[in-house]
């Protein structure tokens, strides 16, 4: 299952709810303002770093760049994808849930 999160974890609780419901083997893709959850050293970063290793976490590159977030600022477990990679993630997972 693929989860997409598009809101800042500092503004809305959707990212938290997503983490509460994601299962091992699932993937989470951070897009739009959701990419702020991918950054090291923030008030939410520890929770992300401590997550079950079976959970794959991705962030959308174009949204990171727009917001001035460099690859060196990302939590280690985060992989960066472009829109094509977003499409691949949707194709690879049976079902997608948008955490709106």
């Amino acid at each position: 299952m693929l989860h997409t999160v598009n809101k800042s974890p500092f503004e809305k609780t959707t990212f938290d709810s997503c983490l509460n419901h994601a299962r091992p083997g699932d993937a989470i893709l951070l897009i739009e303002d959701g990419v702020y959850a991918a950054v090291k050293g923030t008030a939410v970063a520890e929770r992300v770093a401590a997550l079950n290793g079976d959970l794959s976490i991705y962030a959308l590159g174009p949204d990171l760049s727009a917001r001035g977030i460099k690859d060196t600022s990302l939590i280690e477990r985060i992989s960066v994808v472009d829109y094509g990679g977003f499409v691949d993630l949707v194709a690879e997972h049976d079902v997608s849930q948008a955490w709106l």
């Binding site: 598009n6 897009i31 829109y83 949707v90 194709a91 079902v95 997608s96 948008a98």
Partner: protein, 130 residues
């Protein structure tokens, strides 16, 4: 693969329509089929031909219209959501005694059944919203 796209927010105010557009383009480039793009909630506002964004900004309605022309996309605006928000085609305007319509080229107005059908027919449905 056959994709269905759901857009729940209007143009400019939220990034949803932009994200959906870039996703749709990328899916087409990878050879996937886009079965339908369904506009619901405030998403129906993407289908107004009356928008005039600043010249140095993207034109979201034009982007969708051009992508639809190029790839023969089915852009469907939900009729119930559109009525609430004042998006009408010629028929709808006549039916409700309104003296103008504002639907953009490439968009068509239809029922919510078209969203369910999208879920039934597609391998994947991807939603973009607030």
């Amino acid at each position: 693969m056959k994709f269905g796209i759901l857009v729940n927010e209007g143009p400019y105010t939220h990034q949803a329509s932009d994200s959906a557009y870039h996703f749709t383009k990328a899916a087409l480039e990878k050879g996937h089929e886009i079965y339908r793009v369904f506009f619901y909630n405030d998403g129906v506002n993407n289908g107004s031909r009356l928008t005039v964004p600043p010249q140095d900004e993207r034109n979201i309605q034009n982007n969708w219209t051009e992508l639809a022309e190029k790839h023969d996309l089915d852009l469907v605006v939900c009729v119930a959501a559109a009525q609430r928000r004042g998006i009408l085609d010629e028929n709808e305007a006549k039916r409700h005694s309104k003296n103008a319509d504002n639907i953009a080229p490439g968009f068509r107005i239809s029922g919510l059944g078209q969203l369910i059908e999208t879920g039934i027919e597609c391998d994947r449905v991807v939603a973009f919203g607030d």
